[in-house]
């Protein structure tokens, strides 16, 4: 029985390694980075699905998390709750400078940046917003990390 379970798990792992699913969290972003994330996914010119990625609607299906925005106080609790719902192993990509340092909102009264005080972040993609190719580059690095963790 154990061997069968192990076999199934190995098989699932071998399949999963080819298609990490992406989930996007907006932690109070100005929407600039979100537009670039959407561009990266939806426009055939950039087409992140070539890497086997797909945007999913539920945090429970996600493998790679893209976080945008400086973690404003208003959304902080919700972001942390949604982040906790994502099953391990997960890889976090901070898109834009806001989650990394606060960017233009740094030291603002309603901003809790840097986000790595609250969540483990693996990859940073600086830019305001980063161009779609830079986001793809970050996702490619995240996939490499995710394969090691799986």
């Amino acid at each position: 029985m154990t061997t069968l379970l192990e076999k199934i798990t190995d098989q699932a792992r071998a399949l999963a390694v080819r298609s990490p699913w992406i989930y996007r969290i907006n932690a109070g972003s100005c929407n600039g980075c979100d537009v670039e994330c959407a561009t990266t996914a939806l426009i055939p010119r950039y087409d992140v699905e070539r890497l086997g990625c797909q945007y999913c609607g539920s945090p429970r299906h996600a493998d790679i998390v893209l976080i945008t925005g400086p973690l404003t106080t208003r959304v902080k609790e919700d972001v942390l709750r949604v982040f906790a719902e994502i099953p391990d192993p997960k890889v976090t990509v901070a898109v834009g400078v806001c989650p990394i340092s606060g960017g233009i909102f740094r030291d603002g009264y309603a901003v809790n940046a840097p986000i790595d005080k609250y969540l483990p972040v693996d990859i940073n993609v600086p830019g305001c917003p980063p161009r779609p190719q830079a986001i793809i580059e970050g996702i490619a690095q995240a996939i490499a990390i995710w394969r090691e963790r799986l």
């Binding site: 087409d47 070539r50 233009i104 030291d107 693996d122 940073n124 993609v125 830019g127 305001c128 690095q141």
Partner: protein, 167 residues
């Protein structure tokens, strides 16, 4: 029969997807990317620190000199520093390959020190910053720039007055 037209067009032009990350990506010539700082040209006027909207550029006084510090993880790549730099010491390259692991985030900074020297004319402690050669006619020769670099601001002013140039 419209699909035939599309089929032929796709066969001729290929897919519209850019090959990146499996191939090179097209980069616009004037893309505002990674900051490049040229210590030799910096006049230490601190205009870039003044205009930097997110506060990514900072000047610190250290025992060795004036330290220029800039962190790409705060920079919003607006280009104001490049615009206001009188001597093109700070400019933006078209390099956008900046995605990095979080462990390396503090290597994404520029740290350069403009050292202190003692003025060759009066011996006072002064910054070995570059003189501002913009608007000076006839322009400085490279030797003159080196000479000016080792002068304190007061002696620099005097030297310029003797030279007869409006600084």
């Amino acid at each position: 029969m419209n699909f035939l037209k599309i089929l032929v067009r796709n066969l001729v032009h290929g897919p519209s997807t850019v090959p990146f990350p499996f191939g090179p990506a097209w980069t616009p010539e004037r893309l505002r990317g990674r900051i490049v700082f040229k210590l030799d040209s910096c006049t230490a006027c601190r205009a870039c620190e003044q205009v930097c909207a997110p506060g990514a550029i900072r000047f610190d006084k250290t025992p060795d000199g004036l330290r220029f510090m800039m962190w790409h993880n705060t920079c919003v790549f607006c280009g104001l520093c490049e615009f206001y730099c009188p001597t093109d010491a700070i400019r933006q390259s078209d390099d956008w390959h900046m995605a990095h692991a979080t462990a390396d985030q503090f290597t994404m900074a520029i740290r350069e020190v403009i050292p202190y020297v003692s003025c060759t004319a009066c011996g006072a402690k002064a910054l070995a910053s570059s003189p501002n050669p913009v608007g000076i006619t006839p322009p400085f020769t490279p030797e003159e720039i080196e000479q000016q670099r080792n002068l304190c601001p007061g002696c620099r002013k005097k030297a310029l007055a003797e030279r007869g140039a409006a600084s």
